[in-house]
Amino acid sequence: MITQIFFILLAVALIAYIYAGVRKNQLSQDESIFWMLGCLVVLLLGIWPNIIVFLAKLIGIDYPPSLLFLMVSIFIIFLAYRNSRHISILNEKNKELIQIVALMEKRIRELEK
Protein backbone atom coordinates (compact mmCIF):
# COMPACT_ATOMS: atom_id res chain seq x y z
CA MET A 1 0.00 0.00 0.00
CA ILE A 2 2.71 2.46 1.04
CA THR A 3 4.73 1.80 -2.14
CA GLN A 4 1.63 2.32 -4.21
CA ILE A 5 1.01 5.70 -2.61
CA PHE A 6 4.67 6.62 -3.08
CA PHE A 7 4.59 5.91 -6.82
CA ILE A 8 1.25 7.66 -7.32
CA LEU A 9 2.62 10.74 -5.56
CA LEU A 10 5.78 10.53 -7.64
CA ALA A 11 3.72 10.44 -10.84
CA VAL A 12 1.60 13.39 -9.73
CA ALA A 13 4.73 15.37 -8.87
CA LEU A 14 6.22 14.61 -12.31
CA ILE A 15 3.02 15.67 -14.05
CA ALA A 16 2.98 18.91 -12.04
CA TYR A 17 6.64 19.53 -12.87
CA ILE A 18 6.12 19.08 -16.61
CA TYR A 19 2.94 21.12 -16.58
CA ALA A 20 4.82 23.93 -14.83
CA GLY A 21 7.32 23.87 -17.70
CA VAL A 22 4.51 24.19 -20.24
CA ARG A 23 2.87 26.98 -18.24
CA LYS A 24 6.06 29.02 -18.13
CA ASN A 25 6.59 28.44 -21.87
CA GLN A 26 9.86 26.64 -21.19
CA LEU A 27 8.55 23.52 -22.89
CA SER A 28 6.25 23.64 -25.90
CA GLN A 29 2.92 21.83 -25.71
CA ASP A 30 3.99 19.65 -28.58
CA GLU A 31 7.22 18.62 -26.85
CA SER A 32 5.47 18.00 -23.55
CA ILE A 33 3.07 15.38 -24.95
CA PHE A 34 5.68 12.61 -24.86
CA TRP A 35 6.84 13.43 -21.36
CA MET A 36 3.23 13.57 -20.18
CA LEU A 37 2.59 10.16 -21.71
CA GLY A 38 5.63 8.87 -19.81
CA CYS A 39 4.24 10.30 -16.56
CA LEU A 40 0.88 8.74 -17.28
CA VAL A 41 2.51 5.33 -17.60
CA VAL A 42 4.21 5.88 -14.21
CA LEU A 43 0.83 6.83 -12.74
CA LEU A 44 -0.97 3.81 -14.20
CA LEU A 45 1.75 1.45 -13.00
CA GLY A 46 1.62 3.14 -9.60
CA ILE A 47 -2.10 2.41 -9.32
CA TRP A 48 -2.05 -1.06 -10.90
CA PRO A 49 1.47 -2.50 -10.64
CA ASN A 50 0.20 -5.85 -11.87
CA ILE A 51 -0.16 -4.48 -15.40
CA ILE A 52 3.53 -5.13 -15.87
CA VAL A 53 3.22 -8.73 -14.67
CA PHE A 54 0.28 -9.29 -16.97
CA LEU A 55 2.05 -7.79 -19.99
CA ALA A 56 5.23 -9.75 -19.27
CA LYS A 57 3.28 -12.99 -19.21
CA LEU A 58 1.48 -12.02 -22.40
CA ILE A 59 4.72 -11.45 -24.31
CA GLY A 60 6.49 -14.36 -22.62
CA ILE A 61 9.03 -12.52 -20.48
CA ASP A 62 9.86 -14.57 -17.38
CA TYR A 63 11.14 -11.73 -15.25
CA PRO A 64 8.56 -8.87 -15.32
CA PRO A 65 10.90 -6.04 -14.20
CA SER A 66 13.00 -6.56 -17.34
CA LEU A 67 9.93 -5.60 -19.37
CA LEU A 68 9.81 -2.38 -17.39
CA PHE A 69 13.45 -1.66 -18.21
CA LEU A 70 12.81 -2.47 -21.86
CA MET A 71 9.90 -0.03 -21.98
CA VAL A 72 11.95 2.69 -20.33
CA SER A 73 14.89 2.16 -22.72
CA ILE A 74 12.67 2.31 -25.77
CA PHE A 75 11.05 5.47 -24.46
CA ILE A 76 14.38 7.19 -23.79
CA ILE A 77 15.99 6.10 -27.06
CA PHE A 78 12.97 7.28 -28.98
CA LEU A 79 13.11 10.69 -27.31
CA ALA A 80 16.86 10.92 -27.95
CA TYR A 81 16.32 10.12 -31.62
CA ARG A 82 13.57 12.69 -31.82
CA ASN A 83 15.87 15.30 -30.30
CA SER A 84 18.59 14.42 -32.76
CA ARG A 85 16.17 14.91 -35.62
CA HIS A 86 15.05 18.25 -34.26
CA ILE A 87 18.65 19.40 -33.88
CA SER A 88 19.32 18.55 -37.53
CA ILE A 89 16.33 20.53 -38.67
CA LEU A 90 17.23 23.47 -36.45
CA ASN A 91 20.85 23.43 -37.68
CA GLU A 92 19.72 23.57 -41.28
CA LYS A 93 17.23 26.36 -40.62
CA ASN A 94 19.80 28.26 -38.59
CA LYS A 95 22.34 27.99 -41.41
CA GLU A 96 19.74 29.24 -43.87
CA LEU A 97 19.03 32.26 -41.67
CA ILE A 98 22.72 33.09 -41.28
CA GLN A 99 23.23 32.97 -45.04
CA ILE A 100 20.24 35.17 -45.72
CA VAL A 101 21.22 37.65 -43.00
CA ALA A 102 24.69 37.90 -44.55
CA LEU A 103 23.24 38.52 -48.02
CA MET A 104 20.86 41.14 -46.65
CA GLU A 105 23.67 42.83 -44.78
CA LYS A 106 25.48 43.17 -48.10
CA ARG A 107 22.38 44.72 -49.64
CA ILE A 108 21.94 47.20 -46.81
CA ARG A 109 25.62 48.12 -46.96
CA GLU A 110 25.26 48.90 -50.66
CA LEU A 111 22.02 50.86 -50.20
CA GLU A 112 23.64 53.01 -47.52
CA LYS A 113 26.60 53.87 -49.72
Binding site: E92, I98, Q99, V101, A102, L103, E105, K106
Partner: protein, 241 residues
Amino acid sequence: MRVLMIIPAYNEAMNIEKVIDDIHNNFKEADILIINDCSQDNTLEVIQKIDGIDYVNLPVNLGYSFAVQTGFKYAVEQNYDYLIQFDGDGQHLASEAKRMYDYALEKDCDVLIGSRFLEATDYQHSFFRKIGTGLFQKIIRMLTGKKISDPTSGLQVLNRKVFTPLSKINNYPEFPDANLLIQYIFQGYQIEEVGVQMKSREFGESMHSGILKPAKYMIKMFYYILVVFANHLTGRRGQKS
Protein backbone atom coordinates in the same frame (compact mmCIF):
# COMPACT_ATOMS: atom_id res chain seq x y z
CA MET B 1 26.57 35.37 -70.30
CA ARG B 2 27.41 36.54 -66.82
CA VAL B 3 29.85 34.66 -64.67
CA LEU B 4 30.49 34.96 -60.94
CA MET B 5 33.53 33.71 -59.07
CA ILE B 6 32.73 32.76 -55.52
CA ILE B 7 35.67 32.77 -53.20
CA PRO B 8 35.12 31.48 -49.68
CA ALA B 9 37.72 32.91 -47.33
CA TYR B 10 38.45 31.82 -43.79
CA ASN B 11 41.55 33.37 -42.24
CA GLU B 12 43.05 34.20 -45.62
CA ALA B 13 44.33 37.71 -44.88
CA MET B 14 47.76 36.70 -46.23
CA ASN B 15 46.45 35.22 -49.49
CA ILE B 16 43.25 36.95 -50.50
CA GLU B 17 44.74 40.12 -51.98
CA LYS B 18 46.97 38.17 -54.33
CA VAL B 19 44.05 35.99 -55.38
CA ILE B 20 41.95 39.03 -56.26
CA ASP B 21 44.83 40.67 -58.14
CA ASP B 22 45.30 37.49 -60.11
CA ILE B 23 41.63 37.45 -61.13
CA HIS B 24 41.59 41.16 -61.98
CA ASN B 25 44.62 40.67 -64.19
CA ASN B 26 43.81 37.38 -65.84
CA PHE B 27 40.04 36.98 -65.86
CA LYS B 28 38.52 40.44 -66.26
CA GLU B 29 35.02 39.47 -67.38
CA ALA B 30 34.29 37.57 -64.16
CA ASP B 31 32.50 39.25 -61.26
CA ILE B 32 33.88 38.36 -57.85
CA LEU B 33 32.11 37.58 -54.61
CA ILE B 34 34.20 36.92 -51.55
CA ILE B 35 32.47 35.13 -48.71
CA ASN B 36 34.24 35.93 -45.48
CA ASP B 37 33.35 32.99 -43.24
CA CYS B 38 33.69 34.93 -40.00
CA SER B 39 37.49 34.93 -40.13
CA GLN B 40 39.40 35.31 -36.88
CA ASP B 41 42.20 37.31 -38.49
CA ASN B 42 41.90 40.61 -40.37
CA THR B 43 40.64 39.09 -43.63
CA LEU B 44 37.63 41.42 -43.52
CA GLU B 45 39.77 44.58 -43.28
CA VAL B 46 41.94 43.37 -46.13
CA ILE B 47 38.86 42.77 -48.29
CA GLN B 48 37.37 46.16 -47.40
CA LYS B 49 40.56 47.88 -48.55
CA ILE B 50 40.30 46.38 -52.05
CA ASP B 51 38.39 48.76 -54.32
CA GLY B 52 35.09 47.80 -55.88
CA ILE B 53 34.96 44.28 -54.57
CA ASP B 54 31.73 42.51 -53.65
CA TYR B 55 31.83 40.61 -50.41
CA VAL B 56 29.47 38.88 -48.04
CA ASN B 57 30.34 38.75 -44.39
CA LEU B 58 28.94 35.74 -42.54
CA PRO B 59 28.09 36.70 -38.95
CA VAL B 60 29.11 33.26 -37.65
CA ASN B 61 31.43 30.60 -38.99
CA LEU B 62 29.56 28.13 -41.22
CA GLY B 63 32.44 26.17 -42.70
CA TYR B 64 33.63 25.85 -46.29
CA SER B 65 30.64 24.25 -47.96
CA PHE B 66 27.96 26.45 -46.43
CA ALA B 67 30.01 29.54 -47.22
CA VAL B 68 30.04 28.34 -50.82
CA GLN B 69 26.28 27.78 -50.66
CA THR B 70 25.86 31.42 -49.60
CA GLY B 71 27.54 32.28 -52.89
CA PHE B 72 25.06 30.05 -54.73
CA LYS B 73 22.20 31.97 -53.17
CA TYR B 74 23.75 35.25 -54.28
CA ALA B 75 24.28 33.96 -57.81
CA VAL B 76 20.63 32.91 -58.02
CA GLU B 77 19.50 36.27 -56.64
CA GLN B 78 21.64 38.16 -59.16
CA ASN B 79 20.76 35.90 -62.11
CA TYR B 80 24.20 34.70 -63.01
CA ASP B 81 24.47 32.11 -65.79
CA TYR B 82 27.70 30.52 -64.64
CA LEU B 83 29.48 30.25 -61.39
CA ILE B 84 33.06 29.36 -60.61
CA GLN B 85 34.10 27.97 -57.26
CA PHE B 86 37.51 29.35 -56.54
CA ASP B 87 39.58 28.95 -53.38
CA GLY B 88 40.77 31.98 -51.44
CA ASP B 89 44.06 30.43 -50.43
CA GLY B 90 45.93 31.02 -53.68
CA GLN B 91 45.92 27.40 -54.86
CA HIS B 92 43.79 28.16 -57.89
CA LEU B 93 44.93 30.27 -60.82
CA ALA B 94 42.64 32.77 -62.53
CA SER B 95 44.09 31.98 -65.95
CA GLU B 96 43.09 28.33 -65.47
CA ALA B 97 39.62 29.35 -64.31
CA LYS B 98 39.23 31.45 -67.44
CA ARG B 99 40.33 28.56 -69.62
CA MET B 100 37.79 26.34 -67.86
CA TYR B 101 35.02 28.90 -68.31
CA ASP B 102 35.73 29.22 -72.05
CA TYR B 103 35.75 25.44 -72.31
CA ALA B 104 32.43 25.14 -70.42
CA LEU B 105 30.81 27.68 -72.75
CA GLU B 106 32.16 25.97 -75.83
CA LYS B 107 31.15 22.44 -74.80
CA ASP B 108 27.98 23.60 -73.04
CA CYS B 109 28.58 21.37 -70.02
CA ASP B 110 26.74 21.71 -66.70
CA VAL B 111 29.62 20.88 -64.41
CA LEU B 112 33.27 21.33 -65.27
CA ILE B 113 35.92 20.11 -62.87
CA GLY B 114 39.44 21.46 -62.80
CA SER B 115 41.50 18.32 -62.41
CA ARG B 116 45.01 18.13 -61.01
CA PHE B 117 45.44 14.58 -62.23
CA LEU B 118 44.66 14.68 -65.94
CA GLU B 119 48.03 16.18 -66.72
CA ALA B 120 51.26 16.15 -64.77
CA THR B 121 51.35 19.18 -62.46
CA ASP B 122 53.72 20.44 -59.82
CA TYR B 123 50.97 20.32 -57.21
CA GLN B 124 52.06 18.40 -54.13
CA HIS B 125 49.71 15.80 -52.72
CA SER B 126 49.87 14.38 -49.26
CA PHE B 127 49.93 10.63 -48.74
CA PHE B 128 46.35 10.44 -47.46
CA ARG B 129 45.13 12.65 -50.26
CA LYS B 130 46.56 10.25 -52.84
CA ILE B 131 44.96 7.18 -51.27
CA GLY B 132 41.66 8.97 -50.84
CA THR B 133 41.57 10.27 -54.40
CA GLY B 134 42.31 6.83 -55.84
CA LEU B 135 39.60 5.26 -53.73
CA PHE B 136 36.94 7.80 -54.65
CA GLN B 137 37.85 7.54 -58.34
CA LYS B 138 37.11 3.82 -58.14
CA ILE B 139 33.87 4.27 -56.22
CA ILE B 140 32.55 6.84 -58.69
CA ARG B 141 33.48 4.57 -61.58
CA MET B 142 31.82 1.59 -59.91
CA LEU B 143 28.55 3.37 -59.17
CA THR B 144 28.18 5.51 -62.27
CA GLY B 145 30.56 4.09 -64.86
CA LYS B 146 32.07 7.52 -65.31
CA LYS B 147 35.73 8.33 -64.87
CA ILE B 148 36.41 11.38 -62.75
CA SER B 149 40.12 11.88 -62.11
CA ASP B 150 39.90 14.55 -59.41
CA PRO B 151 36.83 14.10 -57.21
CA THR B 152 38.07 16.47 -54.50
CA SER B 153 38.87 19.44 -56.69
CA GLY B 154 37.54 22.73 -55.35
CA LEU B 155 37.90 24.44 -58.72
CA GLN B 156 34.64 23.90 -60.54
CA VAL B 157 32.45 25.67 -63.05
CA LEU B 158 28.70 25.18 -62.57
CA ASN B 159 25.89 26.45 -64.72
CA ARG B 160 22.64 27.88 -63.45
CA LYS B 161 20.74 24.64 -63.93
CA VAL B 162 23.06 23.02 -61.37
CA PHE B 163 23.55 25.69 -58.74
CA THR B 164 19.95 26.90 -58.49
CA PRO B 165 18.65 23.77 -56.70
CA LEU B 166 21.86 23.50 -54.67
CA SER B 167 21.31 26.99 -53.26
CA LYS B 168 18.16 25.86 -51.46
CA ILE B 169 17.81 24.57 -47.91
CA ASN B 170 18.74 20.89 -47.31
CA ASN B 171 20.28 20.54 -50.76
CA TYR B 172 23.97 21.04 -50.09
CA PRO B 173 26.10 18.65 -48.03
CA GLU B 174 28.74 19.57 -45.48
CA PHE B 175 31.47 18.02 -47.63
CA PRO B 176 30.56 18.50 -51.29
CA ASP B 177 32.97 16.18 -53.08
CA ALA B 178 32.58 12.70 -54.55
CA ASN B 179 29.05 12.36 -53.15
CA LEU B 180 27.89 15.45 -55.01
CA LEU B 181 29.60 14.42 -58.24
CA ILE B 182 27.84 11.05 -58.08
CA GLN B 183 24.57 12.87 -57.49
CA TYR B 184 25.21 15.11 -60.53
CA ILE B 185 25.80 12.06 -62.70
CA PHE B 186 22.64 10.34 -61.42
CA GLN B 187 20.69 13.50 -62.16
CA GLY B 188 21.89 13.42 -65.72
CA TYR B 189 24.05 16.55 -65.65
CA GLN B 190 26.75 16.85 -68.25
CA ILE B 191 30.04 16.55 -66.34
CA GLU B 192 33.46 17.09 -67.82
CA GLU B 193 37.00 17.57 -66.62
CA VAL B 194 39.90 19.62 -67.84
CA GLY B 195 43.45 19.37 -66.58
CA VAL B 196 44.61 22.44 -64.66
CA GLN B 197 47.72 23.64 -62.91
CA MET B 198 47.42 24.40 -59.21
CA LYS B 199 49.83 25.78 -56.68
CA SER B 200 50.47 24.41 -53.23
CA ARG B 201 49.28 26.88 -50.64
CA GLU B 202 51.71 29.49 -49.39
CA PHE B 203 50.30 30.54 -46.03
CA GLY B 204 47.91 29.06 -43.51
CA GLU B 205 46.71 25.55 -42.94
CA SER B 206 44.64 23.28 -45.17
CA MET B 207 41.27 22.21 -43.85
CA HIS B 208 42.26 18.57 -44.38
CA SER B 209 45.40 18.54 -42.26
CA GLY B 210 46.30 16.07 -39.52
CA ILE B 211 45.35 12.40 -39.26
CA LEU B 212 42.06 12.45 -37.40
CA LYS B 213 40.36 14.94 -39.72
CA PRO B 214 41.03 13.00 -42.94
CA ALA B 215 39.88 9.79 -41.22
CA LYS B 216 36.66 11.47 -40.18
CA TYR B 217 36.29 12.88 -43.66
CA MET B 218 36.68 9.44 -45.26
CA ILE B 219 34.09 7.84 -43.00
CA LYS B 220 31.62 10.64 -43.59
CA MET B 221 32.21 10.62 -47.33
CA PHE B 222 31.61 6.86 -47.58
CA TYR B 223 28.38 7.31 -45.70
CA TYR B 224 27.28 10.29 -47.83
CA ILE B 225 27.93 8.29 -50.99
CA LEU B 226 25.89 5.42 -49.59
CA VAL B 227 23.00 7.81 -48.92
CA VAL B 228 23.22 9.32 -52.41
CA PHE B 229 23.19 5.81 -53.87
CA ALA B 230 20.25 4.74 -51.69
CA ASN B 231 18.35 7.88 -52.75
CA HIS B 232 19.05 6.99 -56.35
CA LEU B 233 17.82 3.41 -55.87
CA THR B 234 14.67 4.49 -54.07
CA GLY B 235 13.96 7.02 -56.76
CA ARG B 236 14.35 10.10 -54.60
CA ARG B 237 15.91 12.92 -56.57
CA GLY B 238 18.85 14.18 -54.58
CA GLN B 239 17.29 17.59 -54.25
CA LYS B 240 14.08 19.50 -54.47
CA SER B 241 14.08 22.15 -57.15
